[in-house]
Symmetry: C2
Subunit: 221 residues, 2 copies
DNA sequence: AGCAAGTGGAGGATTATACTCCGTTTGTGA
DNA sequence: TCACAAACGGAGTATAATCCTCCACTTGCT
């Protein structure tokens, strides 16, 4: 009767669970809030009854989505740390992975859950992020003004769909390309001025760059 | 009986209209789709009856939102072109303005409107964007691979709220800061490699930079 | 083959949204 | 200041979406 997660689960149940978690995550990222249960089941391609058996209430579903996303992101974080040559590369790799895992969903869901927690995953995610930021700092890929919070906010931004009806492939391509530009900008931060003179005037040969963290934003408007 | 837009309108009606347009725009950006009429009125702080008097149906409302946003963006575009010293500066300024005007709403709404158009505003917006991109290219602030389409997609990304319950001020600050990083990355694109060697290794003095448009994205996973 | 485990979806209860109507309030011009 | 058209607000009803249960049917596993 009771549905146990793990090896004891039947194959089709496992597949249903996966589809439901994916569907829920995608809908939350799209809508920016709690998705309709029917919509989750429809998108997952399973019956509504199946959804209710796996996740008796919304809390259970949202909690499972968070744990799933965090687990997958943690894996990606370890892989990035283990397989990258530099701190900057690991950091960049991790950020791209967060688009695919949908990490941003955690921050969107968080305020909707009352007193339900996931201490292990939360601590692990936080620790990995800190390690990645520290590694990137150590290699001078980013300067000390780049914080874990800033990174988290970027992850949320880039994992949300644009809501203009793009197919998933295009959506993904665009997000990764935009993230790359963002990271380029973030990683050049310590050396940038409003813009390097070499970029605005092709004539000059002066490449001395001034440290100025806040750049053009302060001069806007 | 009929509500005419313009000088003939009473002051309170004009104010209601403004509040309604702002509320609708914000909700569309937040939800990524058609907002509930009641929600629009509630957020605008006006009665539901007032909404229906101003905009008898959803089409009328959405159309008005688009025209309003485009008009304000066009103004910002002219200001950016007129008051900026370089093409790159004008371009950057315009992009920041699109966050404040909420330009991205146009692309979100577009597919919902059947056969209703706004030819003047559309043409003007397109022309200004082209002029800005061309000006930026002319000044070598961006290379030729940067297209109007890419810019439009970025505008959509950065004008959407993060959906994590931030207050409007923080939301705005974060968006502008993230956009700045993105633009830094975009504008350095022609000169970047995976990352300039000077950033990853403090030791080297070699600043010769190789042209490679696609950079790190291609090497990701 | 057999059966526990799992699925799907009809259907009734509940809740949200759409829209109208009319009594009350308010801006404006004389 | 007054008078009145213009505009406002929101109660109330119709309609639609969403929630959730229940059980007959299907399927993976031993």
């Amino acid at each position: 009767m009771m549905l146990l997660v793990g090896r004891t689960m039947r194959a089709d149940a496992l597949s249903s669970r996966r589809r439901l978690l994916d569907a829920a995550r995608e809908l939350i990222l799209k809508m920016g809030g709690e998705p309709a249960r029917d919509a989750v089941a429809r998108r997952a391609g399973v019956g509504i009854g199946t959804l209710y058996r796996h996740f008796p209430d919304q809390q259970t579903l949202l909690h499972a989505v968070v744990v799933d996303v965090l687990d997958r992101t943690i894996d990606a974080g370890f892989a990035a740390l283990a397989e990258s040559a530099t701190g900057g590369e690991a950091f960049r790799r991790y950020m791209h992975a967060t688009i695919d895992t949908g990490l941003g969903v955690v921050n969107i869901i968080h305020p909707m859950l009352d007193k339900t927690h996931w201490p292990d995953q939360h601590a692990a995610t936080r620790e990995i992020l800190d390690r990645l930021v520290n590694a990137a700092r150590r290699d001078s890929a980013v300067d000390d003004s780049v914080t874990a919070t800033e990174i988290t906010l970027a992850a949320i931004r880039f994992c949300r769909p644009l809501a203009i009806g793009l197919d998933p492939t295009d959506e993904r391509t665009i997000a990764h390309r935009q993230l790359d530009c963002y990271l380029d900008g973030l990683m050049m931060r310590p050396l940038t001025v409003d813009r390097p003179a070499s970029l605005t005037q092709a004539t000059t040969t002066d490449r001395s760059l001034v440290v100025r963290p806040n750049r053009s934003h302060s001069q806007r408007q």
